[in-house]
Symmetry: C2
DNA sequence: TCCGTCATGTTATGAAGTTACACTTGGCTT
DNA sequence: AAGCCAAGTGTAACTTCATAACATGACGGA
């Protein structure tokens, strides 16, 4: 995780700055992997970054379609899947939704904090949890591949606002 | 967790025995809560117990319909939701599916091990993970309500069978 | 017995995700 | 330069998952 604080996603901050940096990072990372950040893919990532929250595939698709890209589901799903596979976005199981990864390359399987009042999400390190799970799993001979850790609750801002 | 071993769900065992016990427990628990284990609900729980794996709502619905219950989605979804709310079944986010709870009353938010070869699942204690998550979440002022922990991987039996 | 509540059933609809296939593009070979 | 192949983008059609809205039936308490 970066040093900008774990709950930074819930705090007010400069979207345009963090988006621009994330986008630049993404382009660089993909180039070094030989993967192409095509217009649809780039725009999909931008949309996720701009909104800074989890978005459904169809919500993303609507925006893509409005901007002249294809208007059929596979257009969005393919772009989103590409981003997820390259660690630039995450899929949130509880929400059937996707969100841009704010810390690409640092923690590929973070845990998520999902505020059910404002719909914003935060990524937190899941290392300790994954270690604990892998240990208990190993005890029964289960080899863990991928882990999903998603917490639903109330973020500090919403707790303050509405009691 | 019971003392029958964490990975018991992946090991060969007597389904009819554990099903019968789970069913008896369920009836008792519900009675003490004033909730009714009606025919649809009972049969839904039995179906989950018999199969001993995660099942989609429509798969459950097919069986219910074949046995004379309603054949529309809400029939299954309502029964499944009832079971989940009373701690007798779990919803698996990664699979859009449901599974009978094998340890009712003991651990209401277990972690799940999902074998992607045989589709069987196991429940393991999630206490340590939830504690770790709550701690890191508290650091950013996030109050955790519910946590989903689901691991996909390979169970011991499948690892042995297919290398 | 009347009434209210819970439970079950239906139709209809909405939301999420996939399959299959056609066309284009851009790099690589020869 | 021509031809080829793989990757990318687009479409139509469909499956799967889930809920809304409403009617009917069952049961217990006043």
């Amino acid at each position: 995780m970066t040093s900008d604080g774990i709950g930074a996603a819930f705090a007010p901050h400069d979207h345009s700055h963090c988006s621009a940096r994330a986008l630049a990072d993404a382009a660089e990372r993909l180039a070094s992997e030989g993967a192409r950040l095509t217009p649809v893919r780039r725009r999909t990532l931008e949309i996720l970054l701009e909104n800074h929250r989890a978005m459904g595939a169809y919500e993303v698709l609507d925006r893509l379609a409005a901007e002249g890209f294809g208007r059929q589901p596979p257009v969005a799903y393919r772009a989103l899947e590409f981003l997820v596979q390259h660690g630039l976005a995450h899929r949130l199981q509880r929400l059937n939704a996707f969100a841009a990864c704010l810390h690409p390359g640092e923690e590929h399987q973070p845990a998520f904090l999902i505020c059910d009042r404002c719909d914003r999400i935060a990524e937190v390190p899941s290392g300790p949890m994954r270690a604990a799970l892998a240990e208990v799993a190993a005890g029964s001979g289960f080899a863990v591949d991928r882990v999903t850790v998603e917490a639903v609750g109330t973020c500090a801002i919403c707790a303050e606002d509405r009691g």
